[in-house]
């Protein structure tokens, strides 16, 4: 077997790039994308980064800079980002099927099992993704995934967009300038612990004593060290079949009464049910959580789970149980920020075993009809009364761009 060669392909400022795709007037202009509910800055174009708009800061803190520099502001448009992501991944897989989709804008690839020269292939990937989808990407190549992540970081700064780390020991100058927090798997807390040991740069970590690292950061830290030195400990992971389905959003404004919470939780249960059925899965457990903001004057956060006698994918069952759980979670006197539904214990529908003593209340044909109507006429053409009609609790996305690629009414206009 040849030595592994990993590539990490990562879209540059992905959300910002998606917003620019159909709106070329935004080229060169600073641009930010806000989180759900327009709360925080979750993506920035290079120009916005240069203005000093920090990642993750609340929108109101960025407001002055936004006004002064005419920064373009967008609410997150996940319909658009999801579709563009799917296209980017399809183009990459067309050139190298040995792929693990790691996040909405990143994929690990193994280039060693292909006959092509790796750097040339990586450049072809970068060019083709740019040409076909309009999204700029950077690619880092290295013998381990951890080093490929670092190579990607260097590729992003290099301007060329492709960088290979062949031997980490030859790069000590570069690695000595990178802080440890840039290493994949080193979070803020680990970085602090390493700092206490006098380890501040990637190069220092690479040369650290494995036993010491193991003592302070467990085997995971030792594995990172190994990978930093070019010994692969991680391979591509099979694309995970989702082990749970989460559906949750913040309310538009804080909510203090039960009725809107029940409507919202019914909506999330229905939405989660749709996703469940699309993947031909059933769930055995439903988990509902309800919480105030973390920094509120009165903080409350609680969750309850309930199992189904036989696994189900019927929205009516999911809604009934989710409402029951939310009702039990609700306490008067708090200002709630968020409610959510998590479906767990997922299994393929065709593998479900019936319980002799509990009649099944599922109605798969009704659900099929419901999904078919909504697929043809648009989401929520038919919905359950429990989901509510006006939905005043819905989150704000005051600056959302059109869903250019997923909605016939919102196509880009060309003159």
């Amino acid at each position: 077997m040849t030595a592994p060669l990993f590539a990490l392909a990562d879209c540059n400022n992905f959300y910002a790039s998606c917003e620019r795709l159909f709106n070329p007037a935004l080229a060169g202009r600073p641009l930010i994308v806000l989180s759900n509910n327009d709360g925080c800055v979750v993506a920035r174009s290079n120009e916005a980064k240069a203005l000093g708009i920090g990642m993750g800061i609340p929108f109101f803190q960025a407001r002055k800079l936004v006004e002064r520099h005419r920064v373009a502001v967008f609410s997150s448009n996940y319909s658009l980002y999801g579709d563009i992501s799917r296209r980017v991944m399809a183009v990459l897989a067309g050139l190298c099927p040995d792929m693990e989709i790691y996040s909405i804008d990143e994929a690990f690839l193994r280039l060693d099992r292909l006959p092509h020269e790796p750097l040339a292939l990586a450049r072809e990937m970068r060019d083709r993704v740019r040409h076909w989808t309009g999204i700029p990407i950077s690619i880092g190549l290295a013998p381990t995934k951890t080093l490929a992540k670092l190579a990607n970081l260097i590729a992003k700064k290099s301007g060329e967009g492709v960088f290979q780390i062949e031997r980490p020991e030859r790069l000590h100058g570069l690695l000595a300038r990178l802080p440890v927090k840039e290493v994949w798997g080193i979070g803020r807390r680990s970085a602090e612990r390493l700092q206490a040991l006098g380890i501040e740069t990637v190069e220092q970590l690479r040369r650290a004593d494995p036993r010491q690292i193991r003592r302070h950061l467990s085997v995971i830290g030792e594995r990172i060290l190994c990978e930093l030195n070019g010994t692969p400990c991680l391979d591509l992971e099979e694309t995970q079949s989702n082990r749970q389905i989460l559906c949750s959003k913040s309310f538009g404004q804080r909510v203090t009464t039960l009725a809107p919470i029940l409507e919202a939780v019914s909506n999330y249960a229905a939405r989660a049910g749709e996703r469940l059925r699309r993947q031909r899965l059933c769930c055995g457990h439903i988990h509902v959580f309800l919480q105030t903001g973390h920094h509120d004057a009165r903080v409350y956060s609680n969750a309850l789970s309930q199992g189904f006698p036989t696994p189900t994918s019927d929205s009516r069952q999911l809604i009934r149980v989710a409402k029951g759980l939310a009702q039990r979670l609700f306490l008067e006197g708090y200002r709630y920020q968020k409610v959510g539904v998590i479906l767990m214990d997922l299994a393929e529908s065709r593998r479900i075993q019936d319980d002799l003593f509990t009649p099944r209340n599922d109605n798969p044909r009704l659900m099929q009809a419901l999904d078919a109507i909504n697929a043809r006429l648009g989401a929520d053409e038919v919905f359950f009364a429990a989901q509510g009609v006006q939905r005043p609790w819905r989150m704000q996305s005051g600056y959302r761009s059109p869903r250019y690629t997923t909605c016939w009414n919102e196509l880009a206009r060309v003159s």
Binding site: F22, P24, A25, A27, R86, R87, V88, A90, V91, G94, H131, W132, T133, G134, Y404, T405, L411, A412, R413, V414, S415
Partner: protein, 171 residues
């Protein structure tokens, strides 16, 4: 062991020969031997199977075409990852059969060649025009005499966004 007669289990088991099923000998006129050999051999090639009974009249003319349904995506979208739809506003391309409100199929993977209809990003706007590149000059041509050709100067920011492959026009 008795002499002569039938020996149970001897010989090739039925169905194991080249026909894959039991066979039996028959008498055939010598003049027809070739025809019968030919007929038996041909059985190994796929023979057309008709869905209607020939004796009941003409075969259905559709029998040759039992292929499943046509998928318009297959016809209009050659590169799914690179294909986008956009909506036309304005009448600058009327004479090319592109009307206001039409949907254009745009393939970004194609190389813009002079003479093709493209989506261009010109000075921050998306526009549909015919791409014209000759004698060192680049122009975007409308297909409507009411619109003058757009000459691309040094100060213009032009970028060909994608190549139009089809118009979807309701009639």
């Amino acid at each position: 062991m008795p002499r002569g007669g039938k020996r149970a289990g001897a010989g090739r088991p039925p169905g194991q020969g080249k026909f894959g099923e039991p066979t039996r000998p028959i008498r055939v006129p010598v003049s027809m031997l070739e025809a019968v050999y030919g007929f038996v051999e041909r059985r190994h090639h796929a023979l057309p199977l008709y869905g209607s009974k020939v004796s009941a009249g003409f075969p259905s003319p559709a029998d040759d075409y039992l292929e499943g349904t046509l998928d318009l995506n297959e016809h209009l979208v050659k590169h799914p990852a690179a294909t986008f739809f956009v909506r036309v506003s304005g009448d600058s391309m009327l004479n090319a059969g592109i009307h206001p409100g039409d949907i254009l199929v745009v393939d970004r993977s194609l190389t813009p060649v002079s003479g093709r209809i493209v989506i261009a990003a010109l000075d921050g706007e998306l526009t549909v025009k015919r791409f014209d590149q000759r004698n060192g000059r680049t122009r975007l041509l409308a297909e409507n005499p009411a619109y003058a050709p757009i000459e691309i100067q040094d100060g213009n920011e032009l970028h060909i966004w994608g190549v139009v492959t089809n118009v979807i026009h309701p009639v």
